[in-house]
């Protein structure tokens, strides 16, 4: 039966007749996809078409991914078309994505096909929970979506519609509606689009401005020129560099090869900002020693990858996150200015901020002179007694005088920092790590680089910091087990990546178990 049928030279029983225009809006709950849907329906109905929209609000409306679907077609001799309730993959004329990963999701659903679909997408990101909770960098690769759009869409209109809407004090729906008008896939003139917006009461003017701006942007093809940027605060001309700093910069430029200079300069800046010029000099000393090791291992052939990694992670290690640094950062003038700017603070309003601090005895001990701190650390009962008095949540009113003075005083401990226990501990830990890396780079260049990069695992404060340190230690211990293998560097990278996957270190433990099974 089946075989015969394929050989029949019969014409189609009928043409696949004209189908309605179909539009799918993919968005996240709460993004106003419903408003956009209503506009499009209204637009079609205003022109005498029959329009039908469907959606699935349900639980998805609470920030989940959701889809709205519209079909529209003129009636024929008074007969209404029969319109479908769900989009059919391969048969969607316009897909409008209110977020970039949602554009990707619509492609995966087969809604975007090269023979038919105009894809209108905002390329701004609203990160999904999985992207946010990774202890490392869990952000999805936007390039993959861009690549797929190039394959799947017949026409693409992609720019940051969210930023454009915000710049005009409106919502993304208005920008997307403007892009739709510009796309020319609906046979309605621009004025009829505007009429729909005007008919809506709230925020019609802001919506119209956004609509017009989006329309103009698509028509002139200047997506890149996105939203009008907020005027940048004019920076004062740079004061001339003071001699001490200038000397360090000169030394850096002379001693270090070109490929590492940029990173070393950033590092130098960070450590000086953390402490002082002398600390900057110490940084260059340490880096110089690592460069020497690098040179011995023909690092020049590898663009001095070892030194560059060192320039980065050594700076991070030297500028550790202690109480003094936090207090210093919180009391700087630039910080308040930044917040005021973010809040778009008006002249006649008053700003106050509250910090949520929870100092523990550990932090206090860290600030003591090293010997005193060690002595106290050896008295757990005394520490416990003190901790009960110190360790509690403190709401610090930053810009009230008493609190500011307290923070300012802690920030002022900077001069004494080198004598503190915390500094001694950090320095010892740092030197041990550098020694391990230097030893490794001599036998396996890439392994040396990987060990330097493991520093990335140490971050956070209090328990989080403790967890990070423990991961760092476990990773380095595991590397030790396989350091003689040729693929040691690969394993080191795998260990580090696993450690950044989850906070408890479950994945890391898995890789360590694997290593132990053969090492």
């Amino acid at each position: 039966m089946r075989d015969e049928s394929t050989r029949l030279a019969l014409p189609a029983a009928g043409d696949a007749t004209e189908r309605p225009i179909s539009i799918a809006i993919v968005a996240m709950g709460g993004q106003g996809g419903g408003v956009l849907t209503d506009w499009i329906v209204q637009l079609a109905e205003d022109q005498g078409w029959v329009a039908q929209s469907t959606s699935v609000p349900g639980v998805a409306q609470r920030t989940g991914a959701t889809i709205y679907y519209i079909e529209a077609m003129p009636p024929l001799d008074g007969r209404k078309p029969v319109l479908a309730l769900t989009p059919t993959p391969g048969d969607v004329d316009v897909v409008m994505a209110a977020e970039f990963m949602e554009a990707g999701r619509s492609i995966l659903r087969g809604l975007v096909t090269p023979d038919r679909t105009t894809l209108i997408a905002s390329d701004h990101r609203s990160f999904a929970i999985a992207e946010k909770i990774a202890p490392g960098n869990g952000i999805a690769d936007q390039g993959a979506v861009t690549g797929a759009i190039g394959i799947a869409a017949k026409t693409e209109i992609v720019f940051d519609m969210n930023a454009l809407a915000i710049a005009h004090g409106s919502v993304i729906s208005a920008a997307m509606f403007g892009a739709l008008a510009a796309a020319g896939v609906l046979p309605f003139n621009v004025e009829s689009f505007r009429a729909v917006i005007r008919a809506g009461s709230k925020g019609a003017n802001a919506s119209l401005r956004t609509f017009d701006s989006a329309l103009a942007q698509v028509q002139t093809g200047s997506f890149a020129a996105a939203a009008p940027k907020p005027a940048e605060a004019t920076r004062p001309a740079h004061a001339p560099m003071e001699p001490g700093l200038a000397a360090l910069v000169t030394r850096l430029k002379q001693q270090f090869p070109a490929p590492v200079q940029a990173m070393a300069l950033a590092g130098l800046k960070k450590v000086i900002d953390f402490q002082d010029l002398a600390y900057g000099s110490e940084y260059l000393d340490l880096l110089d020693r690592l460069l020497a090791a690098d040179r011995q291992c023909c690092g020049g052939d590898k663009a001095f990858a070892f030194t560059e990694a060192a320039a980065k992670y050594l700076a991070n290690a030297m500028a550790y996150d202690d109480v003094i640094r936090v207090a210093d950062l919180k009391t700087r003038a630039g910080r308040r200015a930044r917040i005021a700017n973010e809040l778009e603070l008006s002249q006649d309003s008053v700003l106050q901020t509250t910090e949520f601090m929870h100092p523990r005895m550990e932090e206090v001990i860290g600030m003591l002179p090293a010997r005193l701190g060690r002595w106290l650390g050896g008295k757990p009962r005394l520490v416990g007694w003190l901790d009960r008095r110190v360790s509690k949540g403190r709401r610090v009113r930053t810009y009230s005088l008493p609190w500011f003075l307290a923070l300012y005083a802690v920030g002022g401990f900077r001069g004494l920092r080198r004598a503190t226990l915390r500094h001694a501990v950090e320095t010892a830990h740092r030197d041990e790590w550098l020694a391990a890396a230097t030893a490794a780079v001599r036998s396996n260049y890439q392994l040396g680089v990987e060990i330097l990069q493991c520093r990335r695992l140490v971050k956070g404060y209090s328990d989080t910091h403790g967890r990070g340190l423990s991961k760092f230690d476990r990773t380095l211990a595991a590397i030790k087990l396989i350091e003689r293998r040729e693929d040691a560097a690969d394993w080191a990278r795998r260990l580090r990546e696993a450690a950044l996957k989850d906070s408890a270190g479950t994945e890391l433990d898995g890789v360590i178990r694997t290593i132990k099974s053969f090492a």
Binding site: E18, L108, T113, S126, G136, A148, F356, G460, D463
Partner: protein, 719 residues
């Protein structure tokens, strides 16, 4: 107050003869009820029928003018029981709920109602929450209709057809003394369309008339021997009457040519997508001119044997398009044909999938398979059907699968339930993992990342009841979570009462956010707003104590994470016997913002001193570990990549959608996370004292800052 105001939609309910209604399907249904002269309406909210309840709640004036009684029922069982008003009196009544979950709850009352039968027309509107986007188990309401013998209407997704069927449905109900169910799927409920209205009808018989002239008839009560009589009545009288009515009034429709080798029988709700599938195959145009005979069952129960037989008589094969499983219709139609010895072959679930949405794409495949087997000539040379597979198989798109992250629903920005689960997470770190029974409601999102709390959910308000087995002395106690909606739906008795009576040792957390928030923010007994039509402000704590709860703690600000954590710890470790009940209350932020935001804006505009709070992150203090996000998941707490070559990982960042709920700060403090968070308080229209204080301290602070800055090497020059 519901999440949305339906003030405009209420005006649509007033449309009269000849006016065109344009709008959502569920509102068209509401209008149809008024056109049918209902005397009373009840129900319980839940997607997809929430808007029906919301619009009626906002439509007091319209209902009063017509003399219609409207009630937000305590639960679906209460709503179903409400229909008993139509047993003795010729009152038309309708109730609505989400199905099958609501129908499950209502079954007892429905079965009793259907047994004794009705005098006035009764209609049960079920929002069939099946398929993509559904929030419940995948089942069919069809089974309930069959088991209790209630007629099941499944209209074509077209406002005119739906409205017409509701009007006819009431007549059918009265003609056959049987309650009628109207099944509308999620998309049809939220579908925008139009129909030409009729005038609203005042009920011919009112509730008042009934109260003033009470009637009783012991034969209508479900008790032997009447119950046996009812069964015979169903078989011998009501069913034949219904079949007669449906047939004579042509509630089922036929489209396309009268004759043909093959035909398609479908549920009414499948019609639009079937037409699209036929169109793809070149067998119909967009206006429904089909070349394949179609029999559209707008009434899916009872099956009208004679119509089915007539349709199948001259056909070699017939396809049944019936969404969901099991395939009740296919079985029924097979029985009809066998009994009548009609030879048409029946296809259905052999060419179509047993479960899941019947989208146009799925139907395209099924119908094509069917025609290939039974009448390939119809397919001709097969016009190209839409097909996305080449694109989906492209490597660039394949790669995308690994990239696009899942985006599950979650708690809203500033949700008061977030700190409760953050506290539970902190307790988990200290005391280890516990068995947690979850419940239906927004709080069920706790089962997803980042919280990953909750082992089971057994139905609305049944979180506490589902820990009942865990009532032995052990090292750990069971924890049950339930919302205020579930509490009043049935949880007070099934959960708390049950635990008190059985001396349950577990911990019961009642999440009180002043509304049934998951269904759209409707008022309930314990809502704190004053509602002129209802009595609100009934305390959950009082109710718990009234039913015998002894260990009860009220936390009136869930954002106090430290207190929340300590209370949970106490509940898990105390020696006290009996259930440990924690009532954690804070207003649903979605509703609060809708209520408060205009007030704040007005106050600022009017020159009143107003403090606006927002949270922020000091990006140079944040180390990018994201521990805070793992205890939050707030949409406004996100990450951002810094333009700093020294940093690998993005730092936390709070966007301007932050509502300043306080969770970030509380969590950072309680969990000893990090000092990156700050709360910024902006005083709008400050008093002179505010200004003076700020000016003075900023003068001193400015001087101190300059002093220190002078000592610092100027690093800006280092690019």
């Amino acid at each position: 107050m519901a999440e949305r105001s339906f003030a405009r939609e209420v005006e649509d309910l007033r449309l009269g003869h000849g006016d065109t209604f344009r709008g959502e399907g569920i509102l068209a249904i509401t209008k149809a009820l008024l056109q049918s002269g209902v005397a009373y309406v009840g129900g319980y909210q839940g997607s997809p029928i929430s808007h029906l309840m919301d619009v009626l709640a906002d439509a007091k004036d319209v209902l009063d003018e017509l003399g219609v009684v409207f009630q937000s029922s305590a639960n679906e069982a209460a709503a179903a029981a409400m229909l008993s008003a139509s047993v003795m009196y010729p009152l038309r009544g309708a109730v609505a709920w989400k199905s099958t979950v609501g129908t499950n709850v209502a079954s007892d009352a429905l079965a009793n109602l259907a047994s004794g039968g009705v005098t006035g027309g009764t209609m049960i509107i079920v929002g069939e929450d099946y398929g993509e986007g559904s929030s419940i188990m995948q089942e069919r309401t069809h089974a309930f209709a069959m088991k209790s013998q209630m007629w099941l209407l499944d209209p074509r997704p077209d406002h005119e057809c739906i409205v017409n069927l509701i009007e006819k449905g009431f007549e059918l109900s009265e003609y056959s003394n049987t309650p009628v169910m109207l099944e509308v799927r999620v998309r049809a409920c939220h579908m925008h369309g139009s129909f030409v209205c009729k005038d609203n009808l005042k009920p011919r018989h009112t509730i008042k008339d009934a109260l003033n002239n009470p009637k009783r008839d012991v034969n209508r009560i479900v008790l032997p021997p009447a119950a046996y009589e009812h069964e015979q009545e169903k078989i011998k009288t009501r069913m034949p009457a219904a079949i007669r009515f449906v047939h004579e009034n042509r509630l089922n429709e036929q489209f396309g040519p009268k004759q043909g080798k093959v035909g398609i029988i479908m549920q009414g709700g499948m019609y639009n997508n079937v037409i699209r599938a036929l169109q793809y195959l070149g067998l119909s145009d967009a206006y429904g001119n089909t070349q394949v005979p179609l029999y559209v069952m707008n009434v899916t129960y009872p099956v009208i044997d004679s119509e089915v037989a007539e349709f199948c008589l001259d056909k070699e094969a017939v396809l049944i398009v019936e969404e969901g499983q099991p395939e009740y219709l296919e079985q029924a139609i097979n029985t009809v044909l066998r009994r009548k010895d009609i030879q048409a072959r029946i296809h259905g679930k052999d060419v179509l999938p047993m479960g899941g949405d019947y989208t146009a794409q799925v139907l395209l495949g099924g119908v094509r398979d069917f025609l290939e087997r039974c009448e390939p000539r119809l397919l001709g040379n097969r016009p190209p059907a839409p097909d996305a597979t080449p694109v989906l198989n492209h490597p660039a798109v394949e790669r995308l699968k690994q990239v696009v992250p899942a985006r599950p629903p979650g708690l809203c920005t500033g949700c008061p339930e977030r700190p409760i689960f953050a506290a539970m997470k902190l307790v988990e770190e200290e005391l280890g993992q516990h068995h947690v029974s979850a419940d239906i409601g927004c709080h069920l999102f706790s089962i997803l990342p980042p919280f990953n709390i909750g082992a089971t959910t057994m139905g609305f308000g049944l979180g506490p009841a589902s820990t009942s087995a865990f009532n032995v002395k052990a090292d750990k106690r069971a924890i049950a979570v339930m919302g205020d909606g579930g509490f009043w739906h049935n949880g007070l008795t099934s959960g708390i009462g049950n635990a008190v009576f059985n001396k349950h040792d577990g911990v019961f957390v009642i999440v009180d956010n002043y509304y049934t928030s998951a269904t759209g923010g409707q008022d309930i007994l314990s809502s704190r707003a004053t509602n002129t039509r209802r009595k609100t402000n009934n305390s959950i704590v009082q109710a718990v104590k009234g039913i015998g709860g002894q260990w009860v703690r009220q936390i009136d600000r869930t954002y106090d994470v430290g207190r929340m954590r300590d209370t949970l710890k106490e509940a898990l470790t105390t020696q006290a016997e009996g259930p440990k009940v924690i009532v954690a209350s804070s207003e649903c932020m979605l509703n609060k913002q809708r209520r408060v935001r205009p007030q704040i804006n007005k106050a600022i505009k009017d020159g009143v001193r107003t403090v606006k709070e927002r949270f922020g992150v000091d990006e140079d203090v944040c180390t990018g570990d994201h521990a805070c996000i793992r205890l939050s998941g707030c949409p406004s707490l996100s990450v951002k990549q810094l333009d700093d070559p020294l940093r690998d990982d993005p730092v936390a960042a709070i966007d301007n959608s932050c509502v300043g709920c306080g969770n970030c700060g509380e969590v950072a403090e309680a969990a000893v996370l990090c000092p990156s968070f700050y709360r910024a308080d902006v005083i709008h229209n400050p008093t002179r004292w505010d200004r003076f204080k700020s000016k003075l301290s900023m003068a001193v602070i400015g001087w101190l800052q300059q002093r220190r800055d002078r000592k610092r090497p100027v690093l800006e020059a280092l690019a």
